[in-house]
């Protein structure tokens, strides 16, 4: 890697055995952000996990780009709902198994 934060798209494609055009399409759909530096294309390291997930969805599960886009949207919603659910469960914990309150005499 030339830079710890940037992954050459070419390198990514070689490792995953995917066409560079696949990354271009992901970029067109706003699923990843590709940076151009001196005519070379790079992915941010923070996007690697997402890019690998899209590769699996497309090549392993035969999901087209529109489907991946819809799934991403739904997974984001799912994440929000899970966070909300967690927060509500934590609040609900207040009312479960009534507290054995310590006795404080006057």
């Amino acid at each position: 890697m030339e830079n710890n934060e940037l992954i050459p798209v070419y390198h990514f494609c070689v490792v995953h055995q995917v066409e560079i055009s696949f990354i271009d399409v992901l970029q067109q759909y706003g699923l990843v952000e590709v940076m151009k530096i001196d005519d070379n294309s790079y992915l941010k390291e923070s996007q690697l996990a997402d890019a690998e997930r899209y590769v699996r969805m497309h090549y392993d599960l035969d999901i087209n780009i529109e489907g991946i886009e819809a799934i991403r949207h739904l997974l984001e919603k799912l994440d929000q709902v899970q966070q909300q659910n967690r927060s509500l469960q934590n609040r609900l914990g207040r009312y479960e198994s009534p507290a054995e309150a310590p006795s404080y005499g006057a």
Binding site: M1, N4, I7, H11, F12, V15, H16, Q17, V18, E45, L48, A49, E52, R53, V55, R56, M57, Y59, D60, L61, D62, I63, I71, L75, L78, D79, Q82, R86, S87, Q89, N90, R91, G93, R94, S97, P98, A99, E100, A101, P102, S103, Y104, G105, A106
Partner: protein
């Protein structure tokens, strides 16, 4: 070690064609793939099962062996020895890689599979590279008292000791990412990350809701009527609380800044809510009854 019915897992009968197996597998993989079911352990487990079933049934050699022995799979080793001496070889099959940062390899196969096919799992062809190291997931259980203060803990993840600083105010179910603490890779890519999920329970006498704490304080009827002072044990130490005369059962007071620390905001705290539980005296003596009667008559 129990026999595993791979046909049942894929919803097929024994006459299924290679195409039937492929279709059934693909359908189930789409449903249970970890990438589409994040944080769902049941889906992950199911995905491992269908991947294993496909690994066997989509490989003619393995399927033949599986079909031949079935529930008598313990004899498979003898079969294998005979097969190897006859010069046979195991073929590879195409399987899916696990998602969600959770690698799927031979180690994820059941002991039934390992016993029958040994190290033949994961003989996949085609694209299976992984540029980024595998992410690790771990759970860390903390008491409410531990989550109250910033402290350090050492975790053991995949045999490695990781010392982390846990900021005060971390919440139940919260996930933090430790970049680069996942699995290494050999192809020049970055190391995976470590995700830690915190499990934090309440104390019997103290409940947490966000940054606020709630507790119940019992007071006798005399304190409720005449007022008084209580000393409460809180996570930050003892707190004196004035009870105003005429305090009603179930009423609550807020002690500002005596709640839980706000995550990553030094010096900021939530509030402590104290709910009064007025205890009415029982088993009165004759003298007490007389005095209450006298009191009632004054009303």
């Amino acid at each position: 070690m129990a026999f595993i019915d791979y046909y049942e897992i894929l919803g097929l009968n024994k006459n299924a064609t290679a195409d039937d197996i492929k279709k059934a597998y693909r359908k189930l993989a789409r449903k249970h793939h970890p990438d589409l079911n994040p944080n769902d352990k049941d889906a992950h487990k199911k995905f491992q099962q269908i991947n294993e079933a496909n690994e066997v049934l989509s490989d003619p050699e393995k399927r033949k062996k599986y079909d031949t022995y079935g529930k008598d799979w313990q004899h498979a080793e003898q079969y294998e020895n005979a097969r190897q001496s006859a010069g046979g070889g195991a073929g590879g099959s195409r399987g899916y890689s696990g998602g969600g940062g959770e690698a799927f390899d031979g180690e994820d196969f059941s002991s039934f599979f390992q016993s029958m096919f040994g190290g033949q799992g994961g003989g996949r062809s085609g694209r299976q590279g992984k540029f980024r190291g595998q992410d690790y997931n771990a759970e860390l259980t903390l008491s409410l008292t531990e989550a109250f203060a910033t402290h350090q803990q050492t975790l053991t993840v995949n045999g490695k000791h990781v010392r982390i600083t846990i900021p005060a105010g971390v919440e139940n179910g919260q996930v933090i990412k430790l970049k680069g603490y996942g699995a290494p890779v050999t192809n020049g890519g970055p190391q995976g990350d470590l995700y830690i999920t915190f499990i934090i329970g309440n104390l019997p006498a103290l409940k947490r809701s966000g940054n606020d704490l709630f507790m119940t304080a019992d007071i006798d009827i005399y304190t409720a009527v005449l007022g008084g002072e209580l000393t409460l044990d809180t996570l930050s130490g003892k707190v004196k609380l004035k009870v105003v005369p005429g305090t009603q059962n179930g009423s609550q007071v807020r002690l500002k800044g005596k709640g839980f620390p706000v995550y990553r905001k030094d010096g900021q705290f939530g509030d402590l809510y104290v709910v009064f539980n007025v205890k009415v005296p029982v088993n009165l003596t004759d003298e007490q009854k007389a005095l209450f009667t006298q009191l009632a008559a004054l009303k």
